[in-house]
Symmetry: none
Subunit: 216 residues, 4 copies
Amino acid sequence: MRARNSAAKQETEGASRTFTEAARRAQIVEAAIEVIAEVGYAKATFTRIAKRAGLSSTGMISYHFAGKDDLMREVVAEVFRVADGYMVPRIEAQTTAAGRLRAFIESNIELLGEFPKHLPAVVEVLGNVRGEDSTMREFCAAMDSLVDTHTHLIHEAQKTGEFGEFDPRVMALAIRGAIDGVVSRAAKDPDFDAVACGRELADLFERATRNDKRGE
Amino acid sequence: MRARNSAAKQETEGASRTFTEAARRAQIVEAAIEVIAEVGYAKATFTRIAKRAGLSSTGMISYHFAGKDDLMREVVAEVFRVADGYMVPRIEAQTTAAGRLRAFIESNIELLGEFPKHLPAVVEVLGNVRGEDSTMREFCAAMDSLVDTHTHLIHEAQKTGEFGEFDPRVMALAIRGAIDGVVSRAAKDPDFDAVACGRELADLFERATRNDKRGE
Amino acid sequence: MRARNSAAKQETEGASRTFTEAARRAQIVEAAIEVIAEVGYAKATFTRIAKRAGLSSTGMISYHFAGKDDLMREVVAEVFRVADGYMVPRIEAQTTAAGRLRAFIESNIELLGEFPKHLPAVVEVLGNVRGEDSTMREFCAAMDSLVDTHTHLIHEAQKTGEFGEFDPRVMALAIRGAIDGVVSRAAKDPDFDAVACGRELADLFERATRNDKRGE
Amino acid sequence: MRARNSAAKQETEGASRTFTEAARRAQIVEAAIEVIAEVGYAKATFTRIAKRAGLSSTGMISYHFAGKDDLMREVVAEVFRVADGYMVPRIEAQTTAAGRLRAFIESNIELLGEFPKHLPAVVEVLGNVRGEDSTMREFCAAMDSLVDTHTHLIHEAQKTGEFGEFDPRVMALAIRGAIDGVVSRAAKDPDFDAVACGRELADLFERATRNDKRGE
DNA sequence: GATGAATGAGAATTCATTCAT
DNA sequence: GATGAATGAATTCTCATTCAT
């Protein structure tokens, strides 16, 4: 493998990366997201991605990315970037844990309406990756850290008495799993109205997290 | 010999499938389940499966199955068979909808302890299948029908007043997604104690489904 | 390769071949003829032939024949046997060279009506065989000897003045080729009325062979 | 990349096929022609063709052709192109039907001297093709249309009285069959002097077609 | 003699990656 | 920087043949 993986490039060459190169990379990542969401991880070959990106050959992708793993990592990173940009303001606008949880779930599902391919793509990638390669471990770590963050926030809300008593890690996992289930379904069934699920899902987890004994 | 897919064989040749052939098929399916769970759908090649099954060549698998789709269908069928055998009695022993829901979730997760590879394998397969091939559509249909069944049962429990008011389809999807999330996690992280999650998850969905207004 | 090729068997074991074995061989040869005629030489696999013969496995074929070449040789031999039985009496009933030529062509084409698969099968086999293997060379030799025989008969008829002046070898080849063309066509196009061609073809070669200067 | 069959490429990408790609394709087609003529259709594998073409792997062939069918279609097309280039001027230089028929036969056989592998290759391909695949049907159609054209021309010559009375379709088939027989023989027997046959064959069919009653 | 499961070589095809231009 | 042709490993699948029972 060439030493030129994107991480190395970012660190050692820094600002020297030209605008057009960045644009090329973004273009490829975007195409990859679309292709992965449409045909699934297994069939998301360089050939298909290149064709979608309007590139004449797969060599272009290998030139800009150190390998398939590198491209996939960028796909995940890009989706996270977009998701953060959309969700974080909406979550931070809330003052209660319940509000933030609702904002998290609803904005996450809303994202499916705004960027219909992004979440399905990331679910595909993370569902098909193992922690074998050191470079791959980053993927899982990223997702785990999200769950961990939730676990932590839930735990805090339990300490203030806003949330009831339950295992915060299982709750975080369940929320993640339920959302991913909706995302997967939305990706495979174009008729499925994912956005309509958002409020319902938020209601569900509100009931599951609230402290019934509060104020007794 | 295309026509020799398992369905055709079962229907047209009936009992003519010999004992040893059935044993070989079962052996291959078992190996496939293990390999899929361990390395993921994309890397679960005939070569790896044959090696795991102690077979001398991939040709042996092609000899016993009409193709990869056929093998995958058998994998799903076998896991469903095992899961049904384990879960159905436990579910039917319950008399209330809440009891059945809990039994469903807990026995499903317990299955991870008894057959640690089965559910991860099926999650991998169903997560990587598109409804393109007519033979593939059966997979999705099987899973969908499960969700549909739950949707229906939830709806019934709502009519009796045992469950509260919410969209039964979203609830069914959320349950499915949460369980799959736990299964996926268990598959990738051997240290993850899935079984411990069962009761927690059941508690979670009990809170989410129960009718708070009952008896008011 | 096992020493037990059919030729060896016939010569060394002679009458020791049991009736049932001969029946089995005949049954396989018959199935092979049908399969070859229907799907062509390339797709005439042991699997297909065994299925057509009502055999449970291809091993049966390998048991009775030393190999694919051996089976093919038997196919050719059987067709020649049948063709001889049908054509020779009809040819020998004629007293003139022209009559014999006509009887040859017409009875050859008529054979297509009586045994629709036999000639197409042999055309397929001989068209796909090279003289590389020593065992294969027999095939070509058989066909060549037929053409040689015709060449000789034509030459005789030229000496008596019954036939005109032309290269007897080319004539023999042309007759063979024209008949094979009709046979091929008949095999691939079920609507083609081969039998109706017989007289026309015989007329054609009568005009081409007759001595126009005779009696001048 | 299924869509990259030559037809699609030619139509959708038009002139975008580069010079070197066209050269590679031509080189592969040429190698295929030689291999098919030498070892026969059944044994003309990508491996053998790649080796003959000096390519490192069979993948190269799959890269340039959509599949074996595509390559075979190109083989047939290339031979037809060469044959047309050689034969059509010689045929059109003739003013009588008899002259054109002779020119057709003689130039066809002469082609065996100029391009000894071309006609044998095409006879092999067309002899081993069934009308199953839609793409294959084109082959047969191409050959049938040639026979049909002859049938028509013969019919015209009969109406002017230049040719005698006979079934034009059978005559066309016989001509085709006789030539193919010579071609086949030439392919298998390197000592066979095909060119010498040309005039003889033309004489033969001149006698068979001429109107004996003309001017009576 | 007969069976059918097993074998292993070889087929076409796809893919990520490399490299000369 | 960019291109696209070439590479070679890997994958699924088929086939004739063998061998223990």
